[in-house]
């Protein structure tokens, strides 16, 4: 398999993320599938940011430790990554900043001064040098720059990129692949587009890494997508505003991370009791508390499964790649409205802020379950008891209906009740709804398997670790099994997928094995834990080494 890895590193504020996306764009133009891991500390200027861009003939969603090209804006970018350098690694560095390095030194200070260009254009010089090192044509470089730089700064960037190109030498040749290029999108962007596919009309959020960029993306495209995007005073207001919107008939979603979700839990419980649909995008990052805000983890599974006082049905989905993110973001919102339950889309920093080639054609269009609406006959009862537990919706402003929702235990109209018969019937109706949701989900791909079924070796994983697991599994001839839905748990599909599983490894980005705990609760054996809890996702080679302990 032909593949290339490039690391670009420097200080925060130097545009490493954008430069990384341009590098991904460069390979995408040649038909390669790309993935970018972006690593940055929680600060605005300084520190050390880096992106690893991996390009391959195949679809990928994980990085490898070693890189073929290292682009260094500063000494840290050399010193912090010695383990990534191999004999054939080419180093390109900013000779104005880096004192100790071997490779192509670009005097970026002098170049930008001579070209009368702003310092940020140094990124284009690096991109130019990479293009040359990788044996890619100059016209591809210029095409990528034209596609990413605003017209005002285009000429300066092209000049500086040319200087970088001229300063480096030919090292290897990336052969163009004869196939269309794919756009590179982040998990956040695709979550937003999936929600709109599912019918989103309003998005409400308070900024919090790793889902802030979902807020920014949708706010930036509010007019293009014909949606309202709102940023109120805190996450409590966020979820209540969404519930107000939904009560009045507008499909709303919210986005946050663990800390903000803490504040949303009373609203979540209100959504459960009042049966007002809401979709919550929950991007995980390492806690407890503030933890490591810009890093990744899978530590909030049991939090979202159990959050909120009282007992009520909920939908929890955990997509692992962009196609799943698109389809399940849409599905979560649609099912939330069909069954009037809160839906949670569980992502993490790796998926949310990682960038991947997005193959729209690979999306299996999800079904379109519709909300159940009142037909206008008889007296309207918001909580009418029905066979499947779902009460037809009407919205305020509808002639002939008085629409009463409540956080209290209530009767069919919505009036408060504490009577034995009333509260029992209410609970039973609510859980019938959960059962109906579960029955509908049995027709969805809630558990996915990859690789040979009869291998006698199985890797279990969820969410963003899926891609690393699929690649690592090939080395062992193992199959991978991934639950997409975590509540209501798809026990039957899981059981079927795990027939003949053999030796089982359960790969997770946490310290306690949260999926393993859920599987045990459901009566399944999760096998041996393979855990990583340093805030970073598994590199493919790192995971292979860890799996050797289980499968040897």
């Amino acid at each position: 398999m032909t593949e290339y890895s490039v690391l670009i590193g420097g200080k925060a504020g130097e545009g490493i993320n954008t430069a990384g996306l341009s590098i991904a764009g460069l390979f995408s133009r040649l038909g390669y599938r790309t993935y970018m891991y972006f690593d940055y500390p929680s600060l605005i200027r300084g520190g050390h940011n880096f992106a690893i861009i991996r390009a391959s003939e195949r679809t990928i969603g994980a990085h490898r430790t070693q890189v073929d090209v290292l682009l260094a804006f500063d000494q840290n970018s050399i010193d912090n990554h010695r383990q990534r350098v191999h004999d054939a690694t080419t180093v390109v560095y900013d000779a104005s900043q880096v004192m100790r390095a071997e490779g192509y030194g670009l005097p970026l200070d002098r170049i930008v001064e001579e070209e009368k260009a702003p310092p940020i254009t140094g990124n284009s010089a690096m991109l130019g040098a990479l293009t040359r090192v990788a044996g890619i044509g100059r016209e591809v470089l210029e095409d990528v720059i034209r596609g990413s730089v605003p017209a005002k700064h285009l000429e300066a960037n092209l000049r500086v990129a040319g200087r970088g190109y001229d300063a480096a030498g030919d090292v290897f040749t990336v052969e163009p692949l004869e196939r269309p290029s794919l756009p590179v999108l982040t998990g956040n962007e695709v979550t937003g587009l999936g929600l709109v596919h599912g019918g989103l009309e309003s998005y409400v959020a308070y900024p919090m890494t790793p889902t802030s960029n979902l807020l920014h993306f949708l706010a930036g495209h509010a007019e293009d997508l014909a949606i309202k995007v709102l940023h109120p005073e805190n996450e409590i207001s966020v979820i209540l505003m969404a519930l107000g919107l939904a009560y009045a008939g507008e499909k709303a979603a919210v986005g946050t991370a663990g800390g903000g979700f803490c504040l949303m839990t009373e609203g979540l419980s209100l959504a459960g009791m009042s049966e007002i649909p809401v979709t919550i995008v929950m991007g995980q990052r390492p806690g407890p508390s503030t933890g490591m805000p810009t890093y990744t983890s899978q530590t909030d599974l049991h939090f979202v499964l159990n959050a909120g006082q009282g007992e009520f049905p909920r939908l929890v989905v955990a997509p692992g790649d962009l196609a799943e993110t698109y389809a399940w973001s849409a599905t979560a919102l649609m099912l939330s409205w069909r069954y009037q339950v809160p839906a949670i889309i569980l992502t993490d920093k790796t998926l949310a802020e990682g960038a991947y080639s997005f193959d729209v054609g690979a999306i299996i269009e999800p079904p379109d379950p519709e909300p159940v609406l009142w037909d206008g006959t008889g007296e309207y009862r918001r909580y009418a008891r029905t066979e499947d537990g779902v009460s037809p919706l009407a919205f305020p402003g509808r002639e002939g209906a008085v629409v009463k929702v409540s956080s209290y235990a209530h009767d069919e109209i919505g009036f408060t009740t504490e009577a034995v018969e009333g509260v029992t019937a209410l609970q039973e109706k609510m859980f019938r709804k959960g059962e109906s949701l579960k029955a509908e989900l049995s027709t969805y791909p809630t558990v996915r398997s990859y690789g040979p079924r009869d291998a006698g070796k199985t890797i279990i994983c969820w969410g963003s670790e899926k891609s690393a697991c699929i690649e690592a599994a090939e080395r062992f001839g193992a199959q991978v099994v991934q639950p997409l839905v975590l509540a209501p748990f798809p026990a039957r599909q899981w059981k079927e997928a795990m027939i003949g599983a053999g030796k089982v490894a359960c790969v997770e980005n946490n310290a306690t094995g949260q999926l393993a705990r859920l599987l045990r609760q459901q009566g399944f054996d999760p096998g041996r834990p393979v855990l990583k809890h340093d805030g970073r996702p598994f590199a493919v080679d790192e995971l292979e080494a860890r799996l050797l302990e289980v499968f040897a």
Binding site: E223, E233, I236, L240, A246, F358, E399
Partner: protein
């Protein structure tokens, strides 16, 4: 609201069959009936369909009001009615959205929401059932209880001073500010109607008698007076502030009742309206955004 309303008496049909559990003598009855009449009269006078009114309740004795009226309602959680109200108004600009809140509910638990709704001039009405004591949790002090108040959680008496909610609202950008009293019901009804019809954020603090835990009837009867025409310039911040400061919810002073401030400013929800207008085919819009990323 229901088609079976007796002709000529729209207000009569607005009382719901839910059992009323307020204490005898509770000030909430006045608020309930004056809101009922305000809605019925606005429906007749302004041609607002009854189904376009939405009431929100927080948690506390006040919240029960939304059960007692046959009007669309969102019986929410403690202190959180205001953001839900903004959401409702965002979704449907034709709705008249009225939050019934308690003084503990909104000034303690939900003050941030109140301040921000005023700041953004959200087009909703907030009616505070300000009895200056927690009723449903049986007699603790609230943010508007006077200094020295002895509640069940503060038997030695509180040393802090109460908030003057009207002053807070003026400072944070509310565009309509009024105060009523549950023993002055005709004025109360008019204040409700005026607040509901105001375009922008309206705030009505209602001095409400709590018959069980903090009965201030004699005190209010002695001190409260209705503002006369021209006594305050409601278009002037300084004039409103002076009148609002006449009584600080603490020391003995005349208590003015009426509208203190009423100005026009751009409404928060307005600029979002165009975004979702019509029935756009959003899946086509998604495809377009993706096309542009190629």
């Amino acid at each position: 609201m229901s088609p079976q309303q007796p002709a000529g008496r729209p207000a009569g049909g607005l009382i719901s069959p839910a059992e009323n559990t307020w204490c005898p003598g509770c000030g909430n009855f006045s608020i309930e009936h004056m809101m009922k009449s305000a809605i019925a009269e606005l429906s007749e006078e302004e041609g607002i369909p009854l189904e376009n009114f939405v009431l929100l309740g927080g948690i506390g004795c006040h919240g029960k009001l939304v059960d007692y009226l046959n009007v669309n309602s969102f019986y929410g959680i403690h202190g959180r009615s205001v953001p839900a109200a903004t959401g409702i108004r965002l979704a449907n600009p034709d709705l008249k959205v009225i939050c019934h809140v308690g003084d503990g509910d909104i000034f303690a638990e939900g003050l941030d929401h109140l301040i921000f709704a005023a700041k953004r001039n959200s087009d909703i009405t907030v009616v505070v059932h300000d009895n200056r004591v927690y009723g449903l949790t049986t007699g603790q002090y609230t943010p508007t209880s006077p200094t020295g108040f002895k509640g069940r959680s503060t038997p030695g008496g509180i040393t802090e001073h109460p908030l003057n909610p009207l002053e807070v609202m003026l400072a944070t950008g509310a565009t309509h500010i009024a105060r009523g009293y549950t023993k002055k019901i005709r004025q109360l009804k008019d204040l409700f109607k005026e607040a509901i019809m105001h375009r922008g954020f309206s705030f009505v603090d209602v001095l409400q008698i709590c018959a069980t835990y903090f009965n201030l009837t004699d005190y209010y009867n002695e001190h409260a007076y209705e503002l006369r025409e021209g006594e305050v310039d409601t278009g002037q911040f300084e004039s409103a502030l002076g009148k609002i400061r006449e009584w600080d919810y603490d020391r003995d002073a005349p208590i003015p009742l009426g509208t203190f401030y009423s100005v026009e400013k751009p409404v928060y929800e307005e600029k979002f309206q165009a975004l979702t207008a019509g029935k756009p085919d959003r899946r086509a819009l998604v495809r377009k955004v993706l096309e542009e990323r190629r």
